[in-house]
Symmetry: none
Subunit: 223 residues, 2 copies
Amino acid sequence: MRVLVVEDETKVGCFIKRALEEESYAVDLCEDGAKGLEMALATNYDLIVVDLMLPSMSGMEILKAIRRERIQTPVMILTAQSQVDQRVKGLDAGADDYLTKPFAIDELLARVRALLRRGATESPGILQIDDLVLNPATREVTRGGQRIELTLKEYALLEYLMRHTGRVLTRPMISEHVWNQDFDTFTNVIDVYVNYLRNKIDRGRSKKLIHTIRGSGYMLKAD
Amino acid sequence: MRVLVVEDETKVGCFIKRALEEESYAVDLCEDGAKGLEMALATNYDLIVVDLMLPSMSGMEILKAIRRERIQTPVMILTAQSQVDQRVKGLDAGADDYLTKPFAIDELLARVRALLRRGATESPGILQIDDLVLNPATREVTRGGQRIELTLKEYALLEYLMRHTGRVLTRPMISEHVWNQDFDTFTNVIDVYVNYLRNKIDRGRSKKLIHTIRGSGYMLKAD
DNA sequence: GAGTCCCTATGCGTGTGCTCGTGGTCGAAG
DNA sequence: CTTCGACCACGAGCACACGCATAGGGACTC
């Protein structure tokens, strides 16, 4: 899941970035409003976190510009204590959630999870396909009730696959959302990690869930 | 916006009807499958919500019958928790969305909005001609509900044909769009691949969809 | 130093894309 | 109706790119 954070206070921004990365999100940090909007329009993020008070362009303007382009990506706005009245305006302008500074980082993470959950195709917070279960809140993965240990990247990849079950996911799509980098033709990281996941999830089971769509990409499916 | 709801459980049906009416939709409620299909064909609805488990005629049959009549109205199917595998079939058969019971009414309303929004601006996404269905999102192709496996090139060619149903497509046109290269007179790749497609799509069926226009090119047509 | 984790690099098998050549079909002209 | 040439169908077969598997190096932690 790829997240854009637009925050001008370097310290706060880096802190948020680190916290999100530890939760296996791909994070882009931007300290300038205008540049942040540009990034938001250029890349297909899963979530955007934006501070209201920014140099060059306010968070509210960014939000409005994004919505004007019909981009439905969930947006969370960060406000200072003194900007309480701005919240309502923000929600009206199409924000999905707000958080008042200073905040506990745990609360931010919880709200991020909630927003991503709401945006996903499935209603429950727990992702499930066949007997494979992923709980984003605890980052626990089980298959057939049996616990599966995953590394950060493995988990990030699986979560992305599970949030788009039944759809063909191309390498560029995966690269963009799981590795926050543009597609580099000369690497096979994705193949390698799909292979890791297969070893832990499908290996030795009759029902395979990870499918290769030759020439296109990969797909998670119970069929 | 006029909505048809086909749901046999009176309580659930009335609940949905009321909720939709509160959102100012015009709602027709029907508790019987066969009657529901009749209504769907008779009236030009903007959206159809249909339960999978119904007396006299399943939601899936209704869906298929509607699509067979080339009606592109968005359809949302309601499934019980235990019918998860039916979803995929439903989407394959041309459903636009599904919702698992029990659901929050807010979610149903949100999805209804999303479907109507999509229908207004964007294309339906699923391509269909006669009983041949192509879903670009999943890269899945079925004919008469039966899955057809295609290679990359075969799929690309079929998608191009389906996006221009009923029009004669010359070899240069096909070459340009599917092979994105200029026409090379000294190759018969296109003929070969049309042949591959015929084997997988028309072979053994009474109704041929791929037609040769001698001296010009090829055409996909239900006639 | 041992243990992870992330990523790169390489070799291998197989499915896919494409060419070639022959035989078949269609349609116009005689 | 017959003939002939252009056009198309289709099986056989080859080369190679794609994706899989696995080994190993670099960075980091304990």
